[in-house]
Symmetry: C2
Subunit: 141 residues, 2 copies
């Protein structure tokens, strides 16, 4: 199995609300199919999809019920501390819930967390040891 | 906020077990820091990280408890139906739990699901309408 994730799909409770957050709030471009129940975002690297949580559970043949921490976080690395700060200002303005304010991390980075309308967690972070390439992907040392 | 996810972090219960699954089972290369409690995988596109679930929850300032469906799935698109079949054979051999056997999907694709040691769901899928580029990423039509 080649090392790679092609799509990450977030199972959402209210499709229109989530689509509005990512498409109009964050301003991310949808591509390919965008219907009343599925949207694909054209991102650098792994693509993002939104799909109703119940339908996603059905596809995977598991019960849709679930509560508490999903166990998964998504990171958005940037190139400086000030970029973290300014993104958090923007995110607060569009109504994202800031769950951890920008702060220096234990490992020498600088980051913050916000949550999307379903409570999925996103880290906005600067790691001084990593470069961001022209495609917006991280270059490990 | 530029459209992109740099890292997907899976919060895991037993770090060594999960590291073994991804590194030795799937054969995916770790890069950057790999310690007793964090590993980064050098993937095409968005990178993957493993980190203890309790620590991840603490970083995000939320309770670590959670149960049932995480609400998130990760996809691994391939270029043919036979590639889905052969990957599932490989995955079964390394002890991955196949939760949905390869089958034709409602939208004209062909796919299957497996779960990792923490129950995180992966879709192995062929979408005849999408191309896979040289970097292993999907090209939307």
């Amino acid at each position: 199995m080649k090392p790679g994730i092609t799509v990450i799909t977030l199972g959402v409770k209210d499709f229109k609300r989530s689509l509005n957050f990512y498409k109009n709030g964050l301003g991310w471009p949808t591509k390919a199919t965008e219907t009343d129940s599925i949207a694909f975002f054209e991102l650098n690297g792994t693509r993002l999809a939104l799909y109703p949580k119940d339908d996603l559970a059905k596809d995977a043949n598991i019960p849709a019920g679930g509560s508490g921490f999903s166990g998964i976080t998504l990171s958005h690395n940037v190139s400086s501390e000030s970029e973290v700060d300014s993104l958090i200002v923007d995110l607060r303005r569009i109504g994202a819930k800031i769950v951890v304010e920008p702060h220096r991390t234990s490992w020498g980075g600088y980051g913050a967390y916000f949550s999307d309308p379903d409570g999925y967690l996103w880290e906005v972070v600067y790691n001084p040891g990593w470069k961001i390439d022209k495609d917006g992907l991280v270059k490990f040392p």
